[in-house]
Assembly symmetry: C2
Homo-oligomer: 452 residues x 2
């Protein structure tokens, strides 16, 4: 009988994270200071991030040991299963062999806790009281509340006001894990109070929430700030996904021709892709294709430019060389809230610029259509973000049907959609808009880049 999934024991968990910078032809250009635009010094980040994470951010070491205390928590759901999508292959009538890594088994339901747990561990070790962070729809906030609680830390979450009211379930989950969630803009920070004074009816934005979380961390004794994607150390922590998947693909007796992940800041995709991409960078698998999939609503890699830009709307965070549509760009309200970041992880952008990886973008009806087919075949209802990876896998599988090739396709099923079923409902009712984005809007947002 067929084997559908490949499971590992806890003892098979990776012992080290993989740092792709060690194998890149050229590492990404250094960060710069948000005000002076000079090269950023590690001490500039000290008030913001735990020291161990600042060191990981700059590290060129290929392998970084995972602390036992972190592994001990990852075992709550890891190793996650790798599936062979036999039923979906049959439904698509494709000769492709499709595999997916299923990260929806974590308690918060996505890959996000892979880094949240590591960050909480280092914060605890440094003697911090807690973290402040922002969250849009709540995926990242719930992962951080889950993780901080396990290490006895506090978690202050600034949740974009419109999501706070429209998506109460994620808020309740954060509170169940002991987090303190406030709608942003709030009266708890100066930046929040100023904005409320100017516009009492505002529904908030991720840019404002980031600014509030940063201010809260900098003005509260024992607090630092936590970030859920984009930066090197976050992508590093996510490589457990790909390291496990390598062992599982070996069990299946296959090796991927094409690896796919959806990308907002890029962490889940990099987490699966980097441990395989190593083989391409070192010349072992020169034809391995890696595809980062973004939303057409926020097409940093496919329609943005590769330039230095601020990482946040309020220009308080580091200036980073990346593919960007501009830090002031406001994307259309697509359901994939996690794919609405104006930039992209700097290592991914450098690799894209070096021609080592590919990028593509999809409209939301195309991705929901693929995700619905996937749900009918494989059972799992994935998040709207994840649905972008599903669509790319679908297109590659259909290309195999055309060509008759039996390529091996592997994608990251980064999270479940249990809190996002409204997107599926809108799709069923044919009420899901595909927003067209004019070049002019991107050009406008790109006018305010730093002069470096």
């Amino acid at each position: 009988m067929r084997q559908y999934k490949y499971v590992l024991d806890e003892k098979d968990l990776p012992t080290h994270w993989y740092n792709i910078v060690a194998d890149m032809k050229e590492p990404p250009p250094p960060y710069r200071h948000p005000v002076t635009l000079d090269l950023l010094k590690p001490e500039d980040l000290a008030p913001v991030f735990p020291q161990a994470l600042i060191e990981q951010e700059a590290s060129r070491e290929r392998w970084i040991e995972i602390p036992d205390e972190v592994l001990d928590v990852l075992k709550m759901w890891r190793p996650s299963p790798l599936y062979r999508a036999y039923r979906w292959e049959k439904a698509l009538d494709t000769p492709a062999r499709i595999y997916y890594k299923w990260e929806g088994v974590s308690p918060p339901g996505s890959h996000k806790p892979n880094t949240a747990v590591a960050q909480a561990y280092y914060a605890k070790k440094e003697g911090l009281v807690g973290f402040a962070t922002e969250t849009g729809a709540g995926q990242w906030g719930s992962a951080l509340c889950f993780a901080t609680n396990l290490f006895g830390l506090k978690c202050k979450v600034f949740m974009v006001t419109i999501s706070y009211h429209q998506k109460p379930y994620r808020r309740i989950a954060m509170e169940t894990w002991g987090g303190e969630v406030v709608p942003s803009p709030s009266t708890e920070t100066k930046v929040g109070r100023d904005i409320l004074a100017r516009d009492p009816e505002t529904t908030g934005s991720l840019g404002i929430a980031i600014s509030e979380a940063l201010e809260y961390a900098l003005t509260h004794e024992g607090y630092k700030y936590s970030l859920g994607s984009v930066v090197n150390f976050v992508l590093l922590h996510q490589t457990v996904i790909g390291l496990e998947a390598r062992k599982q693909m070996e069990m299946a007796g296959d090796y991927p021709d094409i690896i796919i992940g959806c990308a907002g800041g890029g962490s889940n995709a990099a987490g699966l892709i980097y441990p395989f991409l190593k083989d391409r960078l070192t010349g072992e698998k020169p034809n391995l294709r890696a595809i980062f999939v973004e939303s057409t609503a926020c097409p940093s890699m496919t329609r943005g430019i590769y330039a230095y830009d601020w990482g946040d709307t309020a220009k308080t965070g580091p200036v980073v060389k990346m593919h960007t549509v501009g830090h002031s760009f406001i994307p259309a309200p697509v359901h994939a809230g996690g794919l609405r970041y104006h930039g992209m992880a700097p290592t991914i952008c450098a690799l894209l610029n070096q021609g080592e990886v590919e990028a593509r973008a999809y409209h939301q009806n195309a991705v929901l259509e693929a995700a619905e087919g996937f749900a009918r075949a494989e059972g799992f209802i994935v998040a709207p973000e994840t649905a972008h990876a599903v669509r790319a896998a679908y297109d590659e599988a259909m290309a195999c049907r055309e060509s008759g090739e039996s390529k091996v396709i592997l994608f990251n099923a980064s999270g479940h959609g249990h809190f996002d079923l409204g997107a599926y409902d809108a799709f069923h009712r044919r009420e899901l808009p595909d927003y067209e984005l004019e070049d002019e809007r991107i050009r406008e947002a790109l006018k305010d880049l730093p002069r470096i």
Copy 2:
């Protein structure tokens, strides 16, 4: 390092279901006809259930082979993991060793598909077009839509109107798997139309939805009716849970002293408990304790009587000897919608009557309090139904703390609470009512029992 979870390979799936009737001192008394009250003949059930299930319902065979086609689908998520709750033990400061079986990993998020898949398989084999069923909050309906879709069958779900509007996410999940969901009472059945004519504003009830589903199945060519709990064949299909757990407890080097499950109709609890209870019934483990946990809002085992009663409100289904609070009993609107059935599985009731198992009931604040502690320690946010099992495990663990005994406690974590977070929110806000149930209300509902 500690091992938190015990995982099995697909090849370790049970090949046979376990039928407890073979090992009972005395099997449960036979079913009776809803109108004549005579002993029910298999042919009476033929228009309602697939033939293979009618045979399983009456079977005295100890082991019944699981068809390969059913196993093939169960592999989408089974074997499910068994966890050692180290973190929760520490939080409770108990010497007890607590284990739980985690059924929340199935695509619909609970144990329900274990039987839905088997029922869909037999329906397909018999050449049926589809199933009709009822659902309250949507747990069962979503499992059946998931299963029927995989076998190319249709699924018509009558969903209690108030849930249809208040809990749209379950409805959307059912539609995503291709199910057709209508609010009940509907205009699609005579019983629905009659009720709507009398009371156009009614929000429906499970009793009405059952009657509509039965009528729909009996009046539509190629349709039969599907039931998600109570009857023998459903409990039989759920024994994969306990059969897996036996292997996993062996891997852990432990054997349970106390096994616990929440019970509405009783299927998830029996699924975990029966394969272990076999050891007690055959004299190998005479001291094994099995606890079925119900809601104080619908206390069939703890405050009802053991008597013949109709299985459904409209008196159209079989008359069954069981612990009942009366088929006309209307329970308070507790969040654990799955624990609001007026009766209980006849095998469980016979075992309770024979002194082989125990029963207890909890108010919802007590169960949510335990579930919140569990979520903080173990990460997983369980369904309000499951929270009843969590509370009983908590009480047994606390008893161990008192006595200093290190008993082994095993409970079934039957499903996640992702669609029921409103219960947690109400608990956080101290707005969760504990309904007191007067004896008089039960006495009243018990007046209309059949005279057998």
